[in-house]
């Protein structure tokens, strides 16, 4: 048997295995993110959210999926058939392709490309074609307007998000995602603490890039009905839907890898810097957390109204229990397995934390108007990102040349950038108030 897993075969088989896992798990995860979104939205609006399908609405995503599959798939009569069919495909394939370089765990990565980050950015920027061609092919004013708006929005916010990322890359020194995480492990500090403004700019840019929350102009329900998705229905529409949520997970993945230390446990390299003190108990945290969830499920199970829901809740409790078992078990296994399993847990925890902020913004902020959105992108975010880049580079240089500690110089950089941000916001305030009356 041994010869079967020779390194070269392993190098080929493992990525294919990971790819299959990701492509299979992704629609399920997208579905459950939709459920999470509806539950969080309900919670913020003093109501319950989906409670009917399965215990506490846990089977709602399956119901949605079945509904979408059964729905009739209408193609407008004068639509451009080739493009109408092609557009959602382009969106989904680009979204899935970007998972190739995403490091979920130290080992769980399909391909550790030398230009990992750049690859993900390139592929996700191709997602625009799905939207633009879809809008054009549906041959209606509404989708055309929606498509043009989203194209303009994506193009302008990609630059902002990209510049935000570069400031973190300065510290990492390499484009490969695994090296970036290792850099954060070696420097013992997540990059969010060194370059918080870069993180903020990237977060705003990523929200705009995935057409979400205050920037969801393209499918602004009230004005353009549903933007470029208006004419799509049934399975085709769900492809766009899947692409949007896949993009969200990628963007969250990039942010976690670059700013929140990827699969690293908080204070991962603590013992290297402070030898002697060991806070290994943090390793037990994931297992305890999932155990807590399992117990809560078991506690809720008997209270479910319908017998089947009791069963399903019990099942979910069992599943959480199993995961807790694996997490706890891996504590005693070899460090490699420990890092692999826990790494995946921490990565997922940070991604879902980041997504929670997405949902949180969506339900508190009203929607930006299109010209305000453009003004924010070009007049505030991009200049701020440039300034942040320069100050970060200077800080890095100071710490390298004069030997000051990077923490000190980065704080200096942050202060300078904040000052510039205030100045930018102030004069941005003045002329953004009355766009219409200029001509008076």
């Amino acid at each position: 048997m041994g010869h079967l897993f020779t390194p070269s075969i392993l190098r080929l088989v493992l990525p294919v295995l990971y790819a299959v896992v990701i492509v299979a798990v992704l629609p399920l995860m997208a579905g459950y993110i939709v459920l999470m979104e509806r539950k969080v939205m309900a919670d913020m609006q003093a109501r319950l959210g989906p409670m009917r399908v399965g215990p506490h609405g846990l089977l709602q995503p399956i119901a949605d999926a079945v509904k979408l599959l059964l729905k009739e798939d209408i193609i407008p009569e004068k639509a451009d058939r080739l493009l109408f069919w092609l557009a959602p495909l382009v969106s989904v394939t680009m979204a899935l392709l970007a998972y190739a370089a995403l490091p979920i765990g130290p080992a769980f990565q399909i391909a550790d490309l030398n230009i990992g980050l750049l690859f993900i950015l390139a592929v996700s920027s191709l997602g625009i074609y799905g939207i633009v061609l879809g809008g054009w092919a549906s041959n209606s004013h509404y989708s055309l307007l929606g498509a043009l708006r989203s194209a303009a929005q994506l193009v302008s916010y990609e630059t902002a998000a990209g510049l935000g990322l570069i400031s973190a890359l300065l510290l990492a020194g390499s484009l490969s995602m695994k090296d970036i995480v290792m850099a954060q492990y070696d420097q013992g500090m997540w990059f969010i603490f060194y370059v918080p403004i870069g993180f903020f700019i990237y977060m705003v840019g990523s929200i705009a890039e995935t057409n979400r929350a205050p920037f969801d102009l393209p499918e602004a329900e009230s004005e353009l009905v549903a933007g470029y998705m208006t004419e799509y229905s049934g399975f085709r529409w769900s492809l766009y839907f899947l692409a949007e949520y896949a993009n969200m997970i990628i963007v969250a993945g990039i942010a976690t890898t670059l700013f929140l230390g990827g699969w690293l446990r908080p204070f991962a390299s603590y013992h290297d810097h402070m030898p002697g003190t060991s806070i290994e108990f943090l390793d037990a945290l994931p297992a305890l957390l999932v155990l807590g969830v399992a117990l809560y499920c078991f506690f809720l199970a008997p209270k479910q109204p319908v017998k089947i829901q009791k069963l399903v809740m019990g099942l979910v409790g069992g599943l959480c229990l199993a995961i807790a078992g694996i997490l706890a078990g891996s504590l005693f296994a070899s460090p490699g397995v420990l890092q692999g399993v826990h790494g995946a847990f921490w990565f997922m925890a940070k991604v879902f934390g980041y997504l929670y902020c997405f949902l949180w913004f969506r339900f508190t902020f009203p929607r930006y108007r299109f010209d305000q959105l453009m003004r924010l992108g070009w007049r505030f975010l991009i200049p701020l990102a440039l300034v942040n880049l320069i100050t970060m580079a200077v800080a890095l240089l100071m710490s390298r040349e004069w030997g000051w500690s990077l923490r000190l110089t980065s704080i200096l950089a942050v202060v300078v950038t904040l000052a510039v941000a205030m100045w930018l916001a102030k004069n941005d305030e003045v002329d953004s108030v009355v766009p219409v009356a200029e001509s008076e």
Binding site: L83, N114, L118, W136, A147, A152, L175
Partner: protein, 168 residues
Amino acid sequence: MVLNSILFYFFAALAVVSAILMVTRRNVVHGAVYLITTLLATAGVFLLLQAEFLFIVQVILYVGGIMVLFIFVIMLVNLDVSLLQYQFNRQRFVAGVLALALGAQIFLAIKMGQKSLFPPLHVPDISPKNTEAVADALFGHFMLPFEIASILLLVAMIGAVVMAKRRV
């Protein structure tokens, strides 16, 4: 190595076919889509040559940036009107001469590069860290041309903004 050549022929064929398709399409947006496939095919060829930075730049720059603006303009200015206008084609003679000149050039190129047509099977392995190599060259040896090029681009951008500004 067999995989490499198979892929190469695939990309090359894809590029040629989609280039022809692009030119012959009546619907402009279809043409643009085929142009994108051509560009992606050439990016594939770069990848085969292990020049992954070039591959990425090709994808981001051409396909992700320029082509988006192409499609943007195609959508804004509905071109059906221009399609209906009568397409005349009277410069047959001039076209003939040009074609001949181009043919001669290609033939000469093939003739001179006789040897390089059949490359040794083993492609020299460029240093894995392709990006660093490009960066060193760009900012080290070719510092001056890089600066001149960037200033040129800046001037072009400012020109575009000024022209557009007057109109809005």
